[in-house]
Protein backbone atom coordinates (compact mmCIF):
# COMPACT_ATOMS: atom_id res chain seq x y z
CA UNK A 1 0.00 0.00 0.00
CA UNK A 2 1.40 3.43 -0.87
CA UNK A 3 1.63 5.80 2.04
CA UNK A 4 -0.71 8.35 0.52
CA UNK A 5 -3.39 5.70 0.03
CA UNK A 6 -3.22 4.63 3.67
CA UNK A 7 -6.56 5.09 5.37
CA UNK A 8 -7.00 7.19 8.49
CA UNK A 9 -7.79 4.19 10.69
CA UNK A 10 -4.69 2.36 9.54
CA UNK A 11 -2.40 5.33 10.11
CA UNK A 12 -3.79 5.74 13.61
CA UNK A 13 -3.56 2.07 14.43
CA UNK A 14 0.07 1.83 13.28
CA UNK A 15 1.04 5.06 15.00
CA UNK A 16 -0.58 4.15 18.32
CA UNK A 17 1.08 0.76 18.24
CA UNK A 18 4.47 2.42 17.72
CA UNK A 19 3.87 5.08 20.38
CA UNK A 20 2.87 2.51 22.98
CA UNK A 21 5.76 0.19 22.19
CA UNK A 22 7.97 0.04 25.33
CA UNK A 23 11.11 2.16 25.41
CA UNK A 24 14.62 0.75 25.80
CA UNK A 25 16.21 0.71 29.24
CA UNK A 26 17.75 4.06 28.27
CA UNK A 27 14.25 5.45 27.63
CA UNK A 28 14.66 5.64 23.85
CA UNK A 29 12.53 4.17 21.09
CA UNK A 30 13.37 0.56 20.33
CA UNK A 31 15.02 -0.21 17.01
CA UNK A 32 12.48 -2.97 16.29
CA UNK A 33 8.70 -2.69 16.28
CA UNK A 34 6.41 -5.26 17.87
CA UNK A 35 6.30 -7.29 14.65
CA UNK A 36 10.10 -7.32 14.38
CA UNK A 37 10.31 -4.79 11.55
CA UNK A 38 12.83 -1.95 11.89
CA UNK A 39 11.08 0.90 13.72
CA UNK A 40 12.86 3.27 11.33
CA UNK A 41 10.82 1.76 8.46
CA UNK A 42 7.58 1.84 10.43
CA UNK A 43 8.10 5.52 11.21
CA UNK A 44 9.16 6.41 7.68
CA UNK A 45 6.00 4.91 6.21
CA UNK A 46 3.77 7.21 8.24
CA UNK A 47 5.73 10.28 9.30
CA UNK A 48 7.55 12.83 7.18
CA UNK A 49 11.10 13.76 8.17
CA UNK A 50 12.19 17.40 8.21
CA UNK A 51 15.58 19.09 7.92
CA UNK A 52 16.28 18.57 11.65
CA UNK A 53 14.58 15.33 12.61
CA UNK A 54 14.18 11.93 10.93
CA UNK A 55 10.80 10.20 10.91
CA UNK A 56 12.13 7.91 13.63
CA UNK A 57 13.16 10.86 15.83
CA UNK A 58 9.77 12.51 15.39
CA UNK A 59 8.05 9.28 16.38
CA UNK A 60 10.37 9.03 19.37
CA UNK A 61 9.08 12.35 20.76
CA UNK A 62 5.60 10.82 21.02
CA UNK A 63 6.86 7.41 22.16
CA UNK A 64 8.82 9.00 25.02
CA UNK A 65 6.00 11.37 25.97
CA UNK A 66 3.58 8.47 26.21
CA UNK A 67 5.78 6.43 28.50
CA UNK A 68 6.86 9.35 30.69
CA UNK A 69 3.20 10.29 31.15
CA UNK A 70 1.86 6.87 32.10
CA UNK A 71 4.87 5.92 34.23
CA UNK A 72 4.62 9.18 36.16
CA UNK A 73 0.89 8.71 36.66
CA UNK A 74 1.36 5.19 38.02
CA UNK A 75 4.13 6.34 40.35
CA UNK A 76 1.94 9.17 41.68
CA UNK A 77 -0.84 6.69 42.41
CA UNK A 78 1.25 3.89 43.97
CA UNK A 79 4.04 5.35 46.14
CA UNK A 80 3.53 2.51 48.63
CA UNK A 81 4.18 -0.15 46.02
CA UNK A 82 7.25 1.78 44.87
CA UNK A 83 8.58 1.79 48.43
CA UNK A 84 8.03 -1.95 48.77
CA UNK A 85 9.62 -3.14 45.53
CA UNK A 86 12.19 -0.34 45.09
CA UNK A 87 12.79 1.98 42.16
CA UNK A 88 14.38 -0.46 39.69
CA UNK A 89 11.78 -3.17 40.11
CA UNK A 90 8.94 -0.65 40.20
CA UNK A 91 10.03 0.64 36.79
CA UNK A 92 10.14 -2.89 35.38
CA UNK A 93 6.78 -3.75 36.95
CA UNK A 94 5.14 -0.55 35.66
CA UNK A 95 6.48 -1.08 32.16
CA UNK A 96 5.26 -4.69 32.07
CA UNK A 97 1.86 -3.81 33.55
CA UNK A 98 1.24 -0.93 31.17
CA UNK A 99 2.32 -3.05 28.22
CA UNK A 100 -0.14 -5.79 29.20
CA UNK A 101 -2.87 -3.45 30.43
CA UNK A 102 -2.78 -0.14 28.54
CA UNK A 103 -5.33 2.48 29.54
CA UNK A 104 -8.90 1.65 28.56
CA UNK A 105 -10.39 4.75 30.14
CA UNK A 106 -10.59 8.38 29.05
CA UNK A 107 -9.10 9.36 32.40
CA UNK A 108 -5.62 8.57 33.75
CA UNK A 109 -7.26 8.19 37.15
CA UNK A 110 -8.20 4.64 36.14
CA UNK A 111 -4.71 3.62 35.04
CA UNK A 112 -4.11 1.37 38.07
CA UNK A 113 -7.54 -0.26 38.08
CA UNK A 114 -6.22 -3.62 36.86
CA UNK A 115 -2.90 -3.58 38.73
CA UNK A 116 -3.90 -5.93 41.57
CA UNK A 117 -5.32 -8.51 39.18
CA UNK A 118 -2.26 -8.22 36.94
CA UNK A 119 0.21 -8.51 39.82
CA UNK A 120 -1.62 -11.57 41.11
CA UNK A 121 -1.05 -13.18 37.70
CA UNK A 122 2.55 -11.91 37.50
CA UNK A 123 3.88 -12.30 41.07
CA UNK A 124 7.55 -12.38 40.03
CA UNK A 125 7.56 -8.60 39.63
CA UNK A 126 7.16 -8.15 43.39
CA UNK A 127 8.78 -11.36 44.66
CA UNK A 128 9.63 -12.14 47.40
CA UNK A 129 7.26 -9.53 48.86
CA UNK A 130 4.35 -10.29 46.54
CA UNK A 131 1.73 -10.68 49.29
CA UNK A 132 2.80 -7.42 50.92
CA UNK A 133 2.81 -5.69 47.53
CA UNK A 134 -0.65 -7.02 46.67
CA UNK A 135 -1.99 -5.67 49.97
CA UNK A 136 -0.46 -2.30 49.24
CA UNK A 137 -1.88 -2.15 45.70
CA UNK A 138 -5.33 -3.03 47.02
CA UNK A 139 -5.08 -0.28 49.64
CA UNK A 140 -3.75 2.36 47.22
CA UNK A 141 -6.41 1.59 44.63
CA UNK A 142 -9.10 1.80 47.34
CA UNK A 143 -7.73 5.22 48.27
CA UNK A 144 -8.11 6.40 44.67
CA UNK A 145 -11.67 5.09 44.47
CA UNK A 146 -12.71 6.53 47.82
CA UNK A 147 -11.29 9.98 47.06
CA UNK A 148 -13.89 10.78 44.40
CA UNK A 149 -16.65 8.23 45.06
CA UNK A 150 -20.23 9.41 45.34
CA UNK A 151 -21.74 10.56 48.62
CA UNK A 152 -25.40 9.76 49.24
CA UNK A 153 -27.63 11.65 51.69
CA UNK A 154 -26.99 10.39 55.21
CA UNK A 155 -29.64 8.16 56.74
CA UNK A 156 -31.57 10.01 59.42
CA UNK A 157 -32.17 7.60 62.33
CA UNK A 158 -35.81 7.27 63.31
CA UNK A 159 -37.84 4.71 65.24
CA UNK A 160 -37.60 1.73 62.98
CA UNK A 161 -40.81 0.79 61.30
CA UNK A 162 -39.12 -2.23 59.75
CA UNK A 163 -37.88 -4.57 62.48
CA UNK A 164 -35.38 -6.20 60.12
CA UNK A 165 -34.22 -3.44 57.75
CA UNK A 166 -31.61 -3.32 55.01
CA UNK A 167 -29.02 -0.54 55.05
CA UNK A 168 -27.17 1.23 52.27
CA UNK A 169 -23.48 1.90 52.82
CA UNK A 170 -21.96 5.08 51.45
CA UNK A 171 -20.23 4.41 48.12
CA UNK A 172 -17.13 6.10 49.53
CA UNK A 173 -16.63 3.32 52.09
CA UNK A 174 -14.43 0.47 50.80
CA UNK A 175 -13.90 -2.66 52.88
CA UNK A 176 -10.62 -4.44 52.38
CA UNK A 177 -9.02 -7.40 54.09
CA UNK A 178 -5.24 -7.24 54.47
CA UNK A 179 -2.52 -9.68 55.48
CA UNK A 180 0.01 -7.02 56.49
CA UNK A 181 -0.33 -3.66 58.27
CA UNK A 182 0.15 -1.75 55.04
CA UNK A 183 -2.17 0.99 56.27
CA UNK A 184 0.40 2.08 58.87
CA UNK A 185 3.16 1.58 56.35
CA UNK A 186 1.50 3.80 53.76
CA UNK A 187 0.81 6.55 56.28
CA UNK A 188 4.50 6.41 57.25
CA UNK A 189 5.70 6.42 53.65
CA UNK A 190 3.59 9.46 52.79
CA UNK A 191 4.77 11.31 55.89
CA UNK A 192 8.38 10.62 54.93
CA UNK A 193 7.69 11.77 51.37
CA UNK A 194 6.35 15.06 52.70
CA UNK A 195 9.42 15.47 54.92
CA UNK A 196 11.76 14.60 52.04
CA UNK A 197 10.24 17.35 49.93
CA UNK A 198 11.52 19.97 52.34
CA UNK A 199 14.61 18.19 53.72
CA UNK A 200 18.25 18.07 52.71
CA UNK A 201 19.68 15.12 50.75
CA UNK A 202 21.17 13.64 53.91
CA UNK A 203 17.84 13.70 55.72
CA UNK A 204 16.08 12.29 52.67
CA UNK A 205 18.59 9.43 52.48
CA UNK A 206 18.08 8.65 56.18
CA UNK A 207 14.32 8.65 55.62
CA UNK A 208 14.76 6.26 52.69
CA UNK A 209 16.84 3.87 54.80
CA UNK A 210 14.26 4.04 57.59
CA UNK A 211 11.52 3.20 55.12
CA UNK A 212 13.45 0.19 53.78
CA UNK A 213 13.99 -1.09 57.35
CA UNK A 214 10.29 -0.70 58.10
CA UNK A 215 9.29 -2.62 55.01
CA UNK A 216 11.77 -5.39 55.68
CA UNK A 217 10.32 -5.76 59.18
CA UNK A 218 6.66 -6.06 58.21
CA UNK A 219 5.13 -9.08 59.93
CA UNK A 220 1.92 -10.73 58.71
CA UNK A 221 -1.18 -9.60 60.56
CA UNK A 222 -4.85 -10.02 59.65
CA UNK A 223 -6.36 -6.57 59.29
CA UNK A 224 -9.94 -5.63 58.53
CA UNK A 225 -9.97 -2.14 57.16
CA UNK A 226 -12.48 0.42 56.02
CA UNK A 227 -11.07 3.04 53.67
CA UNK A 228 -13.43 5.99 53.92
CA UNK A 229 -13.80 9.72 53.55
CA UNK A 230 -14.34 12.36 56.19
CA UNK A 231 -14.42 16.07 55.35
CA UNK A 232 -13.17 15.16 51.86
CA UNK A 233 -10.00 13.50 53.15
CA UNK A 234 -9.37 9.75 52.91
CA UNK A 235 -8.88 7.82 56.16
CA UNK A 236 -8.22 4.23 57.19
CA UNK A 237 -10.21 2.66 60.01
CA UNK A 238 -9.35 -0.75 61.39
CA UNK A 239 -12.17 -2.79 62.86
CA UNK A 240 -12.96 -6.12 64.47
CA UNK A 241 -13.45 -8.98 62.08
CA UNK A 242 -17.13 -9.29 63.09
CA UNK A 243 -17.86 -5.62 62.40
CA UNK A 244 -16.14 -5.92 59.03
CA UNK A 245 -18.20 -8.99 58.11
CA UNK A 246 -21.36 -7.20 59.21
CA UNK A 247 -20.62 -4.26 56.92
CA UNK A 248 -19.78 -6.61 54.07
CA UNK A 249 -23.11 -8.39 54.53
CA UNK A 250 -25.01 -5.10 54.66
CA UNK A 251 -23.28 -3.97 51.47
CA UNK A 252 -24.38 -7.21 49.83
CA UNK A 253 -27.95 -6.19 50.65
CA UNK A 254 -28.60 -8.61 53.49
CA UNK A 255 -31.21 -7.74 56.09
CA UNK A 256 -30.00 -6.78 59.56
CA UNK A 257 -30.65 -10.22 61.09
CA UNK A 258 -28.93 -12.07 58.24
CA UNK A 259 -26.00 -9.66 58.35
CA UNK A 260 -25.60 -10.21 62.09
CA UNK A 261 -25.70 -13.94 61.54
CA UNK A 262 -22.99 -13.68 58.90
CA UNK A 263 -20.89 -11.49 61.17
CA UNK A 264 -20.97 -13.79 64.17
CA UNK A 265 -21.28 -17.18 62.47
CA UNK A 266 -17.80 -18.36 63.47
CA UNK A 267 -17.14 -15.81 66.20
CA UNK A 268 -16.13 -16.52 69.78
CA UNK A 269 -18.11 -13.49 71.00
CA UNK A 270 -20.50 -14.40 73.78
CA UNK A 271 -24.08 -14.20 72.54
CA UNK A 272 -25.04 -11.97 75.47
CA UNK A 273 -22.58 -9.32 74.30
CA UNK A 274 -23.82 -9.15 70.71
CA UNK A 275 -26.72 -6.65 71.15
CA UNK A 276 -24.46 -4.11 72.87
CA UNK A 277 -21.78 -4.60 70.23
CA UNK A 278 -24.25 -4.08 67.42
CA UNK A 279 -25.57 -0.94 69.04
CA UNK A 280 -22.11 0.56 69.46
CA UNK A 281 -21.12 -0.28 65.89
CA UNK A 282 -24.25 1.27 64.43
CA UNK A 283 -23.82 4.37 66.58
CA UNK A 284 -20.26 4.68 65.32
CA UNK A 285 -21.10 4.07 61.65
CA UNK A 286 -24.00 6.45 61.90
CA UNK A 287 -21.82 9.19 63.44
CA UNK A 288 -19.32 8.69 60.60
CA UNK A 289 -22.14 9.08 58.08
CA UNK A 290 -21.52 5.64 56.58
CA UNK A 291 -25.20 4.69 56.56
CA UNK A 292 -26.93 6.33 53.65
CA UNK A 293 -30.34 6.73 52.18
CA UNK A 294 -30.90 4.48 49.22
CA UNK A 295 -29.53 5.80 45.94
CA UNK A 296 -32.29 6.87 43.57
CA UNK A 297 -32.84 4.43 40.74
CA UNK A 298 -30.97 5.49 37.55
Amino acid sequence: MTVTAMKLAEIQSRMLDAIMHPLTSGYNTQQRARDGRPMRDVAAEIIKPNNRLTSFERLQIYNQSYWYRVLDALEDDFPGLLAIVGRTRFNALSKAYLTDCPSRSFTLRDLGSRLEEWLRANPKYAAPRTKLALDMVRLEWAEIEVFDAAELPVLIPHPASDPDPRFTLQPYVRLIELHYPVDDLLVGIKAEMRESEVASNAVATRAHHGRVRKIANQKPQAIFLAVHRQDDSVYFKRMEREAFRMLQALREGKQLSAAAEAAFSDSKTAESKIPALLQSWFENWSSLGWLAQQAPAE
Binding site: L8, L16, F147
Partner: protein
Protein backbone atom coordinates in the same frame (compact mmCIF):
# COMPACT_ATOMS: atom_id res chain seq x y z
CA UNK B 1 -15.62 40.91 23.72
CA UNK B 2 -17.24 39.66 20.50
CA UNK B 3 -20.09 37.43 21.47
CA UNK B 4 -20.90 34.84 18.86
CA UNK B 5 -22.90 31.66 18.60
CA UNK B 6 -19.78 29.59 19.22
CA UNK B 7 -19.20 30.98 22.69
CA UNK B 8 -22.84 31.12 23.68
CA UNK B 9 -23.06 34.86 22.93
CA UNK B 10 -21.01 35.61 26.01
CA UNK B 11 -18.68 38.48 26.62
CA UNK B 12 -15.85 36.98 28.68
CA UNK B 13 -12.51 38.68 29.26
CA UNK B 14 -9.16 37.29 30.34
CA UNK B 15 -9.13 34.10 32.38
CA UNK B 16 -6.72 31.51 33.69
CA UNK B 17 -6.81 27.76 34.12
CA UNK B 18 -8.11 26.59 37.50
CA UNK B 19 -5.27 24.57 39.04
CA UNK B 20 -4.96 22.78 42.40
CA UNK B 21 -1.99 24.81 43.78
CA UNK B 22 -4.18 27.94 43.54
CA UNK B 23 -7.32 26.56 45.22
CA UNK B 24 -6.49 27.89 48.66
CA UNK B 25 -5.61 31.36 47.40
CA UNK B 26 -8.75 31.62 45.27
CA UNK B 27 -11.12 30.36 47.94
CA UNK B 28 -9.66 32.44 50.75
CA UNK B 29 -8.81 35.68 48.93
CA UNK B 30 -11.54 35.65 46.28
CA UNK B 31 -9.44 37.55 43.73
CA UNK B 32 -11.16 39.31 40.86
CA UNK B 33 -10.81 37.04 37.81
CA UNK B 34 -12.92 37.33 34.67
CA UNK B 35 -13.28 33.56 34.33
CA UNK B 36 -11.67 30.21 34.97
CA UNK B 37 -11.18 27.36 32.56
CA UNK B 38 -11.45 23.90 34.09
CA UNK B 39 -10.18 20.62 32.68
CA UNK B 40 -13.46 18.74 32.37
CA UNK B 41 -11.97 15.30 33.04
CA UNK B 42 -10.78 16.39 36.51
CA UNK B 43 -14.40 16.90 37.52
CA UNK B 44 -16.18 14.09 35.66
CA UNK B 45 -16.33 12.13 38.89
CA UNK B 46 -19.00 11.08 41.36
CA UNK B 47 -18.07 13.09 44.45
CA UNK B 48 -15.37 14.23 46.85
CA UNK B 49 -13.23 17.30 47.22
CA UNK B 50 -12.80 18.26 43.53
CA UNK B 51 -16.55 18.74 43.06
CA UNK B 52 -16.92 20.61 46.34
CA UNK B 53 -14.16 23.01 45.34
CA UNK B 54 -15.76 23.42 41.94
CA UNK B 55 -19.11 24.26 43.50
CA UNK B 56 -17.45 26.93 45.64
CA UNK B 57 -15.76 28.37 42.57
CA UNK B 58 -19.04 28.35 40.67
CA UNK B 59 -20.69 30.43 43.39
CA UNK B 60 -18.37 33.29 42.57
CA UNK B 61 -16.86 32.86 39.11
CA UNK B 62 -17.67 32.14 35.49
CA UNK B 63 -16.30 28.79 34.39
CA UNK B 64 -15.70 27.32 30.93
CA UNK B 65 -15.04 23.62 30.37
CA UNK B 66 -12.02 22.45 28.40
CA UNK B 67 -11.58 18.76 27.65
CA UNK B 68 -8.50 16.72 26.87
CA UNK B 69 -9.88 13.32 25.92
CA UNK B 70 -12.82 13.56 23.53
CA UNK B 71 -10.47 12.79 20.65
CA UNK B 72 -12.71 14.01 17.85
CA UNK B 73 -10.29 12.49 15.34
CA UNK B 74 -10.06 9.00 16.85
CA UNK B 75 -11.61 6.22 14.79
CA UNK B 76 -14.23 5.07 17.28
CA UNK B 77 -17.60 6.69 18.04
CA UNK B 78 -17.74 8.90 21.15
CA UNK B 79 -17.73 6.90 24.37
CA UNK B 80 -21.28 7.08 25.81
CA UNK B 81 -20.13 7.01 29.42
CA UNK B 82 -17.72 9.84 28.69
CA UNK B 83 -20.51 11.87 27.07
CA UNK B 84 -22.92 11.18 29.91
CA UNK B 85 -20.44 12.36 32.51
CA UNK B 86 -19.49 15.38 30.44
CA UNK B 87 -23.11 16.42 30.06
CA UNK B 88 -23.65 16.02 33.79
CA UNK B 89 -20.77 18.43 34.34
CA UNK B 90 -22.09 20.85 31.72
CA UNK B 91 -25.32 21.04 33.68
CA UNK B 92 -23.39 21.65 36.89
CA UNK B 93 -21.14 24.41 35.54
CA UNK B 94 -23.52 26.05 33.06
CA UNK B 95 -20.55 26.47 30.79
CA UNK B 96 -21.59 28.62 27.82
CA UNK B 97 -19.42 26.59 25.48
CA UNK B 98 -17.27 23.46 25.61
CA UNK B 99 -13.87 23.01 24.05
CA UNK B 100 -11.64 20.06 23.23
CA UNK B 101 -8.82 19.37 20.82
CA UNK B 102 -8.76 18.75 17.11
CA UNK B 103 -6.71 15.61 17.47
CA UNK B 104 -6.90 11.91 18.07
CA UNK B 105 -5.51 9.83 20.94
CA UNK B 106 -7.19 6.44 21.11
CA UNK B 107 -7.89 3.42 18.93
CA UNK B 108 -10.62 0.90 19.75
CA UNK B 109 -10.87 2.12 23.33
CA UNK B 110 -7.15 2.04 24.10
CA UNK B 111 -6.00 5.49 25.19
CA UNK B 112 -2.65 7.22 24.73
CA UNK B 113 -3.67 10.22 26.87
CA UNK B 114 -1.84 12.36 24.34
CA UNK B 115 -3.10 14.95 21.86
CA UNK B 116 -1.91 13.36 18.62
CA UNK B 117 -1.94 15.36 15.40
CA UNK B 118 -4.33 14.45 12.62
CA UNK B 119 -3.35 13.39 9.14
CA UNK B 120 -4.80 16.34 7.21
CA UNK B 121 -6.91 14.36 4.74
CA UNK B 122 -10.41 14.81 3.35
CA UNK B 123 -11.37 11.48 4.89
CA UNK B 124 -10.27 12.81 8.29
CA UNK B 125 -12.27 16.01 7.75
CA UNK B 126 -15.49 14.05 7.18
CA UNK B 127 -14.90 11.69 10.06
CA UNK B 128 -13.91 14.38 12.57
CA UNK B 129 -16.66 16.81 11.64
CA UNK B 130 -19.30 14.10 12.03
CA UNK B 131 -18.01 13.30 15.50
CA UNK B 132 -17.97 16.93 16.58
CA UNK B 133 -21.58 17.29 15.45
CA UNK B 134 -22.56 14.18 17.39
CA UNK B 135 -20.92 15.47 20.57
CA UNK B 136 -22.45 18.94 20.20
CA UNK B 137 -25.92 17.50 19.60
CA UNK B 138 -25.61 15.33 22.69
CA UNK B 139 -24.25 18.08 24.96
CA UNK B 140 -26.59 20.78 23.67
CA UNK B 141 -23.96 23.50 24.06
CA UNK B 142 -21.68 25.06 21.43
CA UNK B 143 -18.44 23.17 20.83
CA UNK B 144 -15.16 24.78 19.81
CA UNK B 145 -12.13 22.77 18.69
CA UNK B 146 -8.56 23.68 19.55
CA UNK B 147 -5.60 23.40 17.22
CA UNK B 148 -2.88 21.29 18.90
CA UNK B 149 0.88 21.70 18.83
CA UNK B 150 2.60 18.93 16.91
CA UNK B 151 5.96 17.30 16.40
CA UNK B 152 5.14 15.11 13.41
CA UNK B 153 3.56 15.48 9.97
CA UNK B 154 2.06 12.67 7.96
CA UNK B 155 2.85 11.64 4.41
CA UNK B 156 -0.88 11.14 3.93
CA UNK B 157 -1.76 14.82 4.52
CA UNK B 158 -3.54 16.49 1.62
CA UNK B 159 -3.72 20.05 2.97
CA UNK B 160 -2.12 22.39 5.49
CA UNK B 161 -3.10 22.31 9.13
CA UNK B 162 -5.04 25.57 8.90
CA UNK B 163 -6.90 24.35 5.80
CA UNK B 164 -7.79 21.22 7.75
CA UNK B 165 -8.98 23.24 10.75
CA UNK B 166 -11.12 25.44 8.51
CA UNK B 167 -12.59 22.48 6.63
CA UNK B 168 -13.50 20.69 9.84
CA UNK B 169 -14.97 23.80 11.49
CA UNK B 170 -17.01 24.48 8.36
CA UNK B 171 -18.29 20.91 7.96
CA UNK B 172 -19.07 20.55 11.67
CA UNK B 173 -20.33 24.13 11.90
CA UNK B 174 -18.42 24.47 15.16
CA UNK B 175 -16.32 27.11 16.85
CA UNK B 176 -12.55 27.37 17.05
CA UNK B 177 -10.43 27.68 20.16
CA UNK B 178 -7.41 29.29 18.61
CA UNK B 179 -4.24 28.46 20.51
CA UNK B 180 -1.64 30.93 19.28
CA UNK B 181 1.11 29.28 21.30
CA UNK B 182 0.36 25.98 19.59
CA UNK B 183 0.51 27.71 16.22
CA UNK B 184 3.90 29.15 17.12
CA UNK B 185 5.23 25.78 18.38
CA UNK B 186 4.04 23.92 15.28
CA UNK B 187 5.32 26.65 12.96
CA UNK B 188 8.81 26.22 14.38
CA UNK B 189 8.61 22.43 14.27
CA UNK B 190 7.29 22.33 10.72
CA UNK B 191 8.82 25.49 9.27
CA UNK B 192 5.73 27.45 8.24
CA UNK B 193 4.78 31.09 8.72
CA UNK B 194 2.55 31.29 11.82
CA UNK B 195 0.96 34.52 10.58
CA UNK B 196 -0.21 32.73 7.45
CA UNK B 197 -2.05 30.33 9.80
CA UNK B 198 -3.60 33.10 11.93
CA UNK B 199 -4.61 35.05 8.83
CA UNK B 200 -6.35 32.02 7.34
CA UNK B 201 -8.58 31.18 10.29
CA UNK B 202 -12.23 32.23 9.87
CA UNK B 203 -12.45 35.03 12.44
CA UNK B 204 -16.19 34.68 12.96
CA UNK B 205 -15.77 31.13 14.24
CA UNK B 206 -13.19 31.94 16.92
CA UNK B 207 -14.88 31.41 20.28
CA UNK B 208 -11.80 31.65 22.47
CA UNK B 209 -8.03 32.12 22.36
CA UNK B 210 -5.36 30.25 24.32
CA UNK B 211 -1.96 31.69 25.20
CA UNK B 212 0.84 29.80 26.94
CA UNK B 213 4.57 29.27 27.29
CA UNK B 214 6.69 26.43 25.92
CA UNK B 215 10.17 24.89 26.09
CA UNK B 216 12.88 25.02 23.43
CA UNK B 217 15.07 22.03 22.69
CA UNK B 218 17.91 21.75 20.25
CA UNK B 219 15.88 20.45 17.33
CA UNK B 220 12.27 21.18 18.25
CA UNK B 221 9.96 23.11 20.56
CA UNK B 222 7.75 21.35 23.10
CA UNK B 223 4.41 22.70 24.30
CA UNK B 224 4.99 22.47 28.05
CA UNK B 225 2.85 25.28 29.50
CA UNK B 226 5.54 25.99 32.07
CA UNK B 227 6.85 29.40 31.10
CA UNK B 228 5.57 32.93 30.54
CA UNK B 229 4.29 33.79 27.08
CA UNK B 230 7.12 34.87 24.75
CA UNK B 231 6.96 37.98 22.56
CA UNK B 232 6.49 36.17 19.22
CA UNK B 233 3.40 34.47 20.69
CA UNK B 234 2.08 37.82 21.92
CA UNK B 235 2.59 39.11 18.38
CA UNK B 236 0.43 36.27 17.06
CA UNK B 237 -2.15 37.04 19.72
CA UNK B 238 -2.10 40.68 18.70
CA UNK B 239 -2.78 39.71 15.09
CA UNK B 240 -5.48 37.20 16.09
CA UNK B 241 -7.54 39.72 18.05
CA UNK B 242 -6.96 42.34 15.39
CA UNK B 243 -8.77 39.94 13.04
CA UNK B 244 -11.28 38.39 15.44
CA UNK B 245 -11.96 41.28 17.77
CA UNK B 246 -11.34 41.14 21.50
CA UNK B 247 -12.01 37.48 22.17
CA UNK B 248 -12.27 35.50 25.42
CA UNK B 249 -8.64 34.77 26.26
CA UNK B 250 -7.10 32.21 28.56
CA UNK B 251 -3.57 31.62 29.82
CA UNK B 252 -2.59 27.99 30.33
CA UNK B 253 0.11 27.24 32.93
CA UNK B 254 0.23 23.56 33.85
CA UNK B 255 3.72 22.67 35.06
CA UNK B 256 6.10 24.40 37.50
CA UNK B 257 3.08 26.48 38.40
CA UNK B 258 4.05 29.76 40.09
CA UNK B 259 1.89 31.76 42.51
CA UNK B 260 -1.65 32.69 41.60
CA UNK B 261 -0.66 36.34 41.24
CA UNK B 262 2.20 35.56 38.89
CA UNK B 263 -0.03 33.46 36.63
CA UNK B 264 -2.86 35.97 36.72
CA UNK B 265 -0.56 38.92 36.03
CA UNK B 266 0.89 37.07 33.04
CA UNK B 267 -2.62 36.52 31.70
CA UNK B 268 -3.58 40.15 32.29
CA UNK B 269 -0.84 41.25 29.91
CA UNK B 270 -3.38 40.35 27.25
CA UNK B 271 -5.32 43.46 28.25
CA UNK B 272 -2.62 45.65 26.68
CA UNK B 273 -3.41 44.15 23.30
CA UNK B 274 -7.15 44.00 23.89
CA UNK B 275 -7.25 47.69 24.84
CA UNK B 276 -5.50 48.57 21.59
CA UNK B 277 -8.09 46.67 19.58
CA UNK B 278 -10.97 48.14 21.57
CA UNK B 279 -9.60 51.64 20.93
CA UNK B 280 -9.78 51.32 17.18
CA UNK B 281 -13.20 49.66 17.05
Amino acid sequence: MPANRFNGFTDYGVGIGLRIPHYRHILSRRPVVDWFEIISENFMIDGGRPLKVLDQILEQYQVVQHGVSMYFGSPERPNREHLRRLKQLVKRTNTPWVTDHLCWGSVDGTYSHDLLPMPYTFEAVQHTAAKIREVRDFLEVPVAVENVSSYAEFHASEMTEWEFLNEVAEKADCGILLDVNNIYVSSRNHSFDPFEYVNAVPATRVAQIHIAGHSKFEKYILDTHDHPVIDPVWALYDRAIERCGPTATLLEWDANIPSFDEVHNEALKANRYLAKVEAVR
